[in-house]
């Protein structure tokens, strides 16, 4: 009888964990599948890191976020993961460079981060050492990132606006939080912080040293795109003109956005269509 009770209990715990992992996988997709942690732009995204991200401040290399205990995040706790994502701080208290977009991920609630961490733990561990970032003085001083965060980083989840269209609110959360659209599609100031008055207006020095287009709903951006166009684009990578995205955008679609529900993609489109 006791055996029966404990096996039932174990089975329900397993079911609960499976459900959390499934939720975490979805959160992972909302981030674009952590595509910056792929080994390169041409290889499948095993999350072992290594791809270069060229910026005006030097070249950063995506890190290993597989559950490998030595080289990945296998020895991290859920607390460590939440701190990394929402505060940009490593388990040893060091500051992460803001090429890792914790400035956006900080809007993801803790329960979702815990679920995402459980999902990442199910990925294949890969024993691959992280590459050293290639960044010149003074940007290579981690302490200076602390000052940067004090000046430019606003921590916290997006809770304001309870009486607004829930689809708009969901879209706002996805765009500004996990999908971190502003990080690539906005210009930055001389300190590398987003120019808040020109968010989503495109960037000359996007990730990998390439320009990123405006995604504002005007003539310079996606003003002529319908909601359906935005949804279809985020599912397939195809623009209304029949062109296909290249570079990192194609990867975040392939590795993440294409798996979002139609409702979530519509919410993203609804929010983007309000940006001027």
């Amino acid at each position: 009888m006791l055996f029966f009770a404990s096996s039932t209990c174990l089975s329900s715990t397993e079911e609960a964990l499976k459900s959390i992992v499934k939720k975490g996988e979805y959160v992972f997709y909302t981030t674009g599948g952590c595509s910056c942690h792929a080994p390169s732009s041409d290889e499948s995204n095993d999350l072992s890191g290594g791809r270069p991200l060229k910026t005006p401040f030097g070249t950063f290399f995506g890190t290993n976020i597989t559950p490998d205990k030595k080289f990945g995040i296998g020895s991290w706790s859920s607390e460590d993961f939440a701190n990394a994502m929402s505060e940009g701080t490593g388990p040893d208290g060091s500051h992460f460079f803001p090429t890792f977009p914790y400035t956006s991920f900080t809007k993801i609630p803790r329960s979702k981060l815990d679920a995402m961490f459980e999902y990442l733990k199910t990925r294949k561990p890969i024993a691959k050492k992280n590459k050293e970032h290639d960044i010149p003085f003074p940007f290579n001083i981690r302490f200076s990132v602390g000052v940067w965060k004090w000046l430019f980083f606003q921590k916290g989840v997006d809770t304001h606006g309870s009486n607004i269209d829930p689809r708009y609110k969901r879209g706002r959360y996805l765009v500004n939080g996990p999908a971190h659209c502003a990080e690539c599609h906005s210009p930055r100031n001389i300190f590398g912080a987003l120019k808040n008055d020109r968010l989503f207006s495109g960037a000359k020095d996007g990730p990998e040293g390439e320009p990123s287009p405006s995604i504002l709903a005007n003539d310079d951006g996606i003003g002529e795109w319908s909601t359906k166009d935005v949804v279809y684009y985020l599912k397939t990578g195809m623009t209304p003109e029949g062109d296909f995205s290249g570079g990192l955008m194609a990867e975040v679609i392939d590795n993440g956005y294409q798996y979002l529900t139609d409702e979530d993609l519509e919410s993203i489109a609804i929010y983007l269509k309000t940006l001027q």
Binding site: S41, D42, G206, E210, P211, S212, P213, K228, D229, V231, Y232, T236, G237, M238, T239, P240, E241, G242, D243, F244, S245, G246, G247, M249, A250, E251, I253, D254
Partner: protein
């Protein structure tokens, strides 16, 4: 001797200028070719996303795409790299990889022709369209400069 050096210089300059002209010419052709592919893909995409039941139209667009897919390697012929278009230089340094992607595009367009000749089921056609789109995206991901 001075005249000989001047002649060699002028000849080299002329060769470089002609070579550059040829590259620019092919870049222009390439741009139009890709617009034609985009036109067909855009029409198919519009049919799919608007939920219009026009399998016959997709069949015609697929035939056109498959027909012109045989020119894909020609418009990227070796020695036609140019700064005037979105084609990344690594196309020509990784030519065999690029050839494989071009081959995938040809096969996926042939597959869409085959599927649309057998069925009018928009779900099945949609799956074949998805496969074709993946070959476009797969190539652009590696070999197209961002807009």
């Amino acid at each position: 001797m001075k005249f000989l050096m001047l002649a060699v210089f002028l000849w080299s300059f002329n060769s470089f200028a002609k070579d550059d002209e040829k590259r620019q010419g092919m870049a222009e052709v390439r741009e139009h070719y890709m617009s034609a592919v985009g036109g067909n893909m855009g029409t198919i995409g519009a049919i799919m996303k608007e939920g219009v039941k026009q399998p016959g139209m997709i069949a015609n667009q697929a035939k056109a795409l498959h027909e012109i897919s045989s020119d894909i390697l020609t418009v990227f012929e070796k020695g036609s790299d140019s700064k005037d278009d979105d084609a990344k230089a690594k196309i020509w340094t990784e030519w065999s990889k690029f050839e494989k992607k071009a081959e995938a595009f040809k096969k996926a367009s042939a597959n869409l022709v085959a599927v649309t000749s057998k069925t009018k089921d928009m779900k099945k056609i949609g799956a074949a369209v998805g496969k074709l789109g993946k070959t476009c995206k797969g190539c652009h991901k590696s070999y197209k400069e961002k807009d």
